[in-house]
């Protein structure tokens, strides 16, 4: 396998036929994807789709059952995280009896690439007092400190497993904004997992959609959107495209909305084509994979 791209910079993540089986069955199967450089990737899927498993495989905390995975050209080992990768798990673990300053000192002492000024800047920006014990912070503040710890080691790939799950809407917005700003400024690839795409819709430029432990959709958002179209028409009008071509369908009182491949955009009256929204597209694929599972 050729991990190195002609450009010379190693690709953050390449998975080939990647699979992970637990006692209860396959959590991830036949996963062949590439996460390109310098993107903000939304890793989306319903609960149990394999998002956390995929992240665990990237960190090396989990060992693949099948296939292979490479992170910046290296195979993840159980012996520690790749130096260019930062990982923030769902629980955002921090030592509760450490102060914020001590938490940053932990980062400084355990990371050769640590940037203390940058980490302090991130904490100050979040207006978290340095002397406060981590255990006394609010959920939003804790997330900001955890983020400062993850970003302070200057990663090239940042893995965030449901980082917004326990935050109020205001804190969500602030955390996301910080994240996007820093990712853009520092040239970091960010992999954000969530089962709610809506909150990532405006920030991500790459989508990786998992369902039933398999990759349902993967690609740059702009490209994905350009390959699909939404047809809107009256509820009582006959459906103008073959059933198997329909990716998703929503119906309200007056109108029916069909998500179909862009080739089918011009089916004529009364169906009007329009560009799909990312959330709509992802939801359609998620529904379809849920239906497949049920079938």
């Amino acid at each position: 396998m050729n991990w190195q791209r002609p450009s010379g910079r190693a690709v953050p993540v390449i998975a080939e036929g990647l699979g992970k089986k637990y006692r209860r069955g396959w959590a991830l199967r036949e996963c062949s994807v590439e996460i390109p450089d310098n993107r903000i990737v939304a890793l989306v899927g319903p609960n149990g789709a394999g998002k956390s498993t995929f992240m665990g495989l990237i960190t090396g905390m989990l060992a693949p059952t099948a296939g292979q995975i490479s992170v910046f050209g290296d195979r993840p080992q159980g012996n520690g995280l790749h130096p260019a990768v930062s990982y923030l798990s769902q629980a955002k673990p921090l030592y509760k009896d450490f102060t914020v300053a001590e938490t940053l000192k932990l980062g400084a002492k355990t990371n050769p690439t640590w940037d203390q000024k940058y980490a302090e800047y991130l904490v100050e920006q979040a207006q978290v007092p340095m002397k406060a014990k981590v255990g006394t912070l609010s959920g939003g503040q804790r997330t900001r400190v955890a983020l400062a710890l993850a970003l302070g080691r200057k990663p090239r790939l940042l893995l965030l497993d449901e980082p917004l799950a326990d935050l109020d809407p205001l804190a969500r917005e602030v955390v996301l904004r910080t994240l996007v700003t820093e990712a853009r400024n520092q040239g970091i690839t960010v992999l954000l997992s969530s089962h709610v795409l809506a909150e990532l819709e405006n920030v991500c430029d790459h989508l990786l959609l998992l369902g039933n432990g398999e990759v349902q959709v993967a690609g740059d958002v702009a490209e994905l959107l350009s390959k699909h179209v939404v047809l809107t028409g009256p509820v009582n009008a006959p459906v103008p495209v073959p059933q198997q071509k329909i990716i998703g369908m929503t119906v309200d009182e007056h109108r029916r909305r069909l998500l179909v491949p862009v080739e089918l955009a011009h089916v004529g009256q009364p169906w009007a084509p329009s560009a799909p929204r990312l959330g709509e597209l992802a939801l359609a694929y998620m529904r379809r994979s849920a239906l497949e599972k049920a079938a």
């Binding site: 905390m61 159980g78 012996n79 520690g80 798990s89 673990p93 030592y95 932990l106 980062g107």
Partner: protein, 324 residues
């Protein structure tokens, strides 16, 4: 990484320091008070006292022992307990607490290999504990030595309190208990499980190896004329019941000797010893592991604990390195 481990175990380290200061102060104060008693009673003249002074001395010794014998033993008991306490309160939470609170992910999310992370935690937890233990051991044994044969040391090197608090025993017990707690804690990912299993396994293994003691080393047979009766050197570890010897120095089987003794110790026998000799029981014997072998005994028991400790360390590293 050392700083992180130190910061995490600060509470335990402060507790250890407190134990050291309080323990050392207690031993120093008690010992100096004991030295005063020794001088006041004039016990220095009672070492191997002449029969004339014996009665006088035994009264003094009684008085001395009433206040100091059990006090010194209490100090030794502290040394017996310290290893398992270190195992339970420093060893068991070492990794189990991280797993319980999910913070092992934090530690392994930095640029430190899991093995280095583990080793720094082990060193920061273990070395101060060992230092405190060894200092306290030195102090308690110095105290016991000052009392000498008037104190608990008269029981000989194999008595439970002496053996467990002397030589390399506290060191090897502590290494074992610490690594046991660390391994079980890492495996079960529960502090409480680690603590409970450490307590149970440690006590059981100590008792088991203690019961094996008389089989670990060859015994020495001490023969005496039948009139003198069973005698073993002071402080030696008696093994078996002992028995009778015939004229050629051979041990007489118990079934045979017991018939004779029943006969000779029966009422109405004028001269028991003559009776025994007439029936061929000319001597008695006792088997014992001599005092001089105590060091070897410590080495053997210590090696068993060290081998188990090495296995536990290897097991812990395996558990921590495991990808799930």
């Amino acid at each position: 990484m050392i700083w992180v481990s130190y910061r995490q175990q600060r509470t335990q380290l402060i507790t250890l320091l407190a134990i050291l200061v309080l323990g050392a102060a207690a031993v120093l104060l008690l010992r100096s008070s004991m030295v005063g008693d020794l001088a006041r009673l004039g016990l220095e003249n009672c070492h191997g006292a002449s029969p004339a002074g014996l009665a006088e001395c035994s009264k003094k010794i009684d008085e001395f022992q009433k206040s100091w014998y059990d006090t010194i033993k209490l100090g030794m008991l502290g040394l017996l307990l310290l290893p398992v306490l270190i195992g339970m309160f420093i060893g068991a939470p070492l990794f189990a607490r991280e797993f319980e609170q999910g913070t092992h992910v934090l530690a392994t999310s930095q640029s430190v290999s899991r093995v280095r992370w583990a080793l720094s935690k082990i060193l920061v937890g273990l070395l101060p504990a060992l230092a405190v233990l060894l200092i306290l051991q030195k102090l308690v044994s110095w105290w016991a030595l000052t009392a000498g044969e008037f104190g608990p040391l008269d029981g000989g090197p194999y008595s439970t309190f002496i053996f467990g608090s002397a030589n390399i025993a506290p060191l090897t017990y502590t290494l074992f208990a610490f690594c046991l707690g660390m391994f079980v804690g890492a495996l079960a990912r529960r502090v409480l499980v680690g603590m409970t299993v450490t307590l149970g396994v440690f006590v059981a293994l100590r008792a088991f190896l203690g019961s094996l003691q008389d089989r670990l080393l060859p015994t020495e047979r001490i023969a005496s004329p039948v009139e003198v009766g069973f005698q073993t050197p002071k402080g030696a570890l008696n093994v078996g019941m002992g028995g009778y010897l015939d004229a050629s120095g051979q041990a007489v089987p118990y079934e045979q000797s017991s018939k004779i003794t029943q006969q000779c110790f029966a009422e109405g026998v004028k001269d028991t010893y003559a009776c025994l000799r007439d029936h061929g029981l000319t001597g008695t014997y006792a088997d014992a592991i001599p005092v001089s072998q105590a060091g070897t005994m410590h080495l053997i028991e210590g090696s068993i604990f060290l081998v188990l400790t090495a296995l536990l360390v290897a097991g812990t590293i395996l558990v921590l390195r495991r990808q799930s």
